[in-house]
């Protein structure tokens, strides 16, 4: 009996909270910031991952710089050709792949690639093939 009463009370609290959220003060109630904390993040990002491979040898390529047009972020592929970065969510991305270490790890032609994003996707994996110079 006590448990049913507790459940009822909790449901009542949830209803009160929902009413507040819907009809009044919504931003002031839910988007709070601790005294010494950061602002809230709304998580409007997406995880972009991929692997860079040589079209000729099919080996993974290290040290290819990956940039996204109009964004300040950049990264580079690791020793297994993998890369990853969280980026702001957009409808499409223009990737620039650049061989930045000269002849170390082989020489490859640069590639610019436009990728469209499905709105339901939370991550994107790219297999990137670069031509040997």
């Amino acid at each position: 009996m006590k448990s049913i009463k507790n459940q009822f009370n909790l449901s009542k609290k949830r209803i009160i909270k929902s009413i507040f959220g819907l009809f009044s003060l919504s931003t002031m109630l839910f988007v709070f910031q601790a005294c010494y904390g950061t602002p809230q993040d709304f998580g409007q990002d997406i995880l972009l991952e991929g692997k860079v491979i040589s079209e000729g040898s099919e080996n993974s390529i290290q040290n290819i710089e990956i940039r996204l047009q109009n964004l300040p972020q950049y990264t580079s592929s690791d020793s297994e050709g993998n890369f990853s970065m969280f980026c702001p969510r957009q409808d499409q991305y223009t990737f620039n792949f650049r061989d930045i270490d000269g002849e170390d790890n082989g020489s490859y032609t640069n590639l610019d690639s436009v990728i469209k994003l499905d709105i339901s996707e939370n991550s994107l994996f790219l297999s990137v093939l670069l031509k040997d110079k």
């Binding site: 009160i16 002031m28 601790a34 005294c35 809230q40 702001p88």
Partner: protein, 360 residues
């Protein structure tokens, strides 16, 4: 300008209805905001520091695998997409594994951010943090060059903080603000600081006062007088009324009477232990890291964080114990409930400051 006893009808109605929300939220106490004190090491030695941090801390940094294991468990029990993890210190950028930890947190679904003095924030480090899902950052900046360097106890602190600010403002994806600790040296320079920050493109500036704990105890001259505090409220209220591109907020550190709803986005609600928890450097579990350590509720080395969150935290969720001293006869207690809990010294149950009572 507001006076101490001139509530508008709208304010009274808001405060009264907000009490119901606060009661409901306290009963449900969903964890929405989790601090991780990732280190007690720091590269500065600020005069007003409320924590126990040092250049070389005696408390070792918590190993990342222990923290991440606990976070995995939290992600299983609660919805991680509704929890903001705020990494603090000491100075969090002193941990070299911060990007890797942040990446794992974001992959689990948590959103994460850091509070930093910006001293070590280079373009490469910032880029790697953003790549790893950094979603929010707060930069501490305590005034113009001479005042900032004085309080930060280092001659190049301001120039490094400015470099950090420029970097931060280059990434609109990352939610950011600057926090400034207002003191006797800066209270009359706020308009100049405002203009400078606005010119640089900052969107949110948060002001707070110094809590007389930690090293700040040695510098009572940092503490604002009642008149100075009231003039701070008036400054913020006036700036907010301008609807400038730079929004000024007073931090949610205390109840402000008739200034409620006028100097910050929300009404006062100390959510410590209600929505806010923390994992401290030594594994202790508390609410905000700057709350008296006598209020520690457990340790992740003995129990799961979620067990502690669900079963302990009574003094945070039933604050009737704060109705003593100045609070005992205060007519505003129902809206305030003992101010921000970081103002309480637990050894003698003393409220170190009541902003409401200081407002002229």
């Amino acid at each position: 300008m507001a006076t101490k006893n001139s509530f508008s009808l709208k304010q009274k109605a808001l405060l009264k209805s907000f009490r119901h929300y606060r009661k409901a939220e306290t009963a449900l106490h969903p964890l929405n905001y989790l601090f991780w004190e990732c280190t007690l090491r720091c590269n500065l030695s600020c005069l007003h520091c409320g924590s126990d941090c040092h250049v070389d801390s005696e408390v070792p940094d918590m190993p990342s695998d222990i923290f991440l294991r606990e976070m995995e468990h939290i992600a299983q029990k609660y919805d991680p997409t509704k929890i903001m993890v705020v990494i603090t210190g000491g100075e969090p950028l002193l941990r070299k594994d911060l990007p890797e930890i942040g990446f794992k947190l974001r992959k689990m679904g948590f959103k994460w951010g850091i509070v930093t003095n910006g001293y070590s924030l280079t373009p490469n480090i910032y880029n790697s943090l953003v790549n790893c899902g950094l979603g929010a950052i707060t930069l501490s900046l305590d005034g113009q060059e001479s005042d900032h360097n004085w309080i930060r106890n280092r001659q190049d602190a301001y120039s490094k903080a400015m470099n950090a600010l420029n970097l931060i403002l280059s990434t609109p994806r990352v939610q950011s603000d600057v926090v400034s600790c207002v003191n006797k040296r800066t209270i009359n320079k706020l308009p100049e600081i405002f203009n400078d920050l606005k010119k640089r493109g900052l969107k949110t500036w948060r002001l707070f006062t110094i809590t007389p704990i930690g090293r700040a105890l040695d510098y009572p001259e940092l503490d604002l007088s009642a008149d100075e505090f009231t003039s701070l409220m008036n400054f913020i209220q006036a700036k907010r009324a301008e609807n400038s591109e730079l929004t000024v907020n007073f931090s949610c550190e205390s109840y402000l009477g008739t200034y409620e709803g006028k100097v910050r986005d929300g009404l006062f609600f100390c959510r410590a232990g209600i929505n806010i928890g923390s994992i401290l450097a030594d594994g202790s579990v508390s609410a905000c890291p700057n709350i008296d350590r006598e209020l520690i509720q457990g340790s992740i080395y003995k129990n799961r964080f979620t067990e502690i969150w669900e079963n302990n935290f009574i003094p945070f969720r039933d604050r009737s114990w704060t109705k003593i001293g100045l609070c005992k006869t205060c007519k505003e207690y129902k809206y305030c409930e003992g101010s921000g809990l970081h103002w309480w010294r637990m050894s003698d149950k003393q409220l170190l400051k009541c902003h409401y009572s200081e407002i002229r």
